[in-house]
């Protein structure tokens, strides 16, 4: 199967590969997987609690070229965006940008899920933290 140039580019030069400290309260981690192909994708972002801007994003994906490209693109897109903006990224945007064929659409779904999971994790951490901080101040 022929991959689009953009997929090949992201595959050969993946952006933002790596990891962020998971325990950092400002880091949200999203770990998702697709059972049909065994792909697993970890997406992490460092979010400024004041501005809610995503300052840094890293990923590591074990999977096919499309899964790697989708997550690489996702990290590029979320950087500099606010949490709300990042949540509005749809898998169809990724499909369009990378010209993914129908059989690879689930890779883009995985990337969208990873963004949502990472932000969810950050929100959870944040929520718990706010409560703890409130308790502490009383």
């Amino acid at each position: 199967m022929a991959y689009s140039d953009k997929v090949v580019d992201h595959y050969n030069n993946p952006r933002n590969v790596g990891s962020l400290p998971k325990a950092d309260p400002n880091v949200g981690t999203g770990l998702v997987g697709a059972p049909e192909c065994g792909d697993v994708m970890k997406l992490q972002m460092k979010i400024n609690p004041e501005t809610q801007v995503i300052e840094e994003a890293k990923f590591k994906t074990f999977g096919c070229g499309s899964a790697i490209a989708s997550s690489s693109l996702a990290t590029e897109w979320v950087k500099g965006k606010t949490v709300e903006e990042a949540l509005s990224i749809k898998n169809t945007d990724i499909v369009r940008e990378l010209s993914l064929p129908p059989v690879k659409i689930h890779c883009s779904v995985l990337a969208e899920d990873a963004i949502k999971a990472a932000i969810g994790d950050w929100k959870k951490k944040h929520g718990i933290e706010v409560q703890v901080a409130e308790k502490a101040s009383h």
Binding site: V32, P35, E36, G38, V40, K42, P102
Partner: protein
Amino acid sequence: MSTAPTSTNTPLVCWNCHERTVGTHFCSACGKLQQIPQSLDYFALFEMPKKLWIEMDGLEQKFLQLSWKLHPDNFVNATEMERELSLQRSSELNDAYRTLRDPVGRVEYLLGIEGERKEGEKKQQAPPELLEEVFELNESLDELREAKESGGDLTALRVSLEAARGNFQEKLVEVDGQLQSAARDWDAALTADSAARKKIMARLNELLNRRSYIRNLVTNVQKELL
């Protein structure tokens, strides 16, 4: 065949004698080999109820009987229509046998005909409690590949990967057990209401996903350990 099909009862019209026929494979009126009815699923083809526990000897017996009856050798001197049908039906019979013989393939097939498992349509989630382990395993696999390329020391990596393989193989055995028990639930609920059956099918689907995920992992580890 004297028995009526179990799950398809729509009367069909024979292509040869134009009579309504109730035979699964041959016309009940003129005895000619029939086209594959669209509604005929693999269970009905073997004239079995849609149960997940299948007695293997019985299945094999029926397969051999049907193979014998539908075999193209029997139709060498028949019309072109019958020769073609015999080919089609024999190949379908082989597919059906292969599918039903495999306990996992059987469940996949059942969920497919019940509309509970469609390729790519439903978003299937990987078992979240496994993801951490899966990720770590993949990282170790990567390390092993790199070490192999650079000629590094593989002993420690091998030991940890073998442990991981053992761990996932155990999980595979566990999920197979769960699948078996869910299959028994399905058989027991054969006449239950559709909500109850849907619930069991959802469970079966979830277990199948889990199984395919773990299986892929075990296969990958095995490849690297060779």
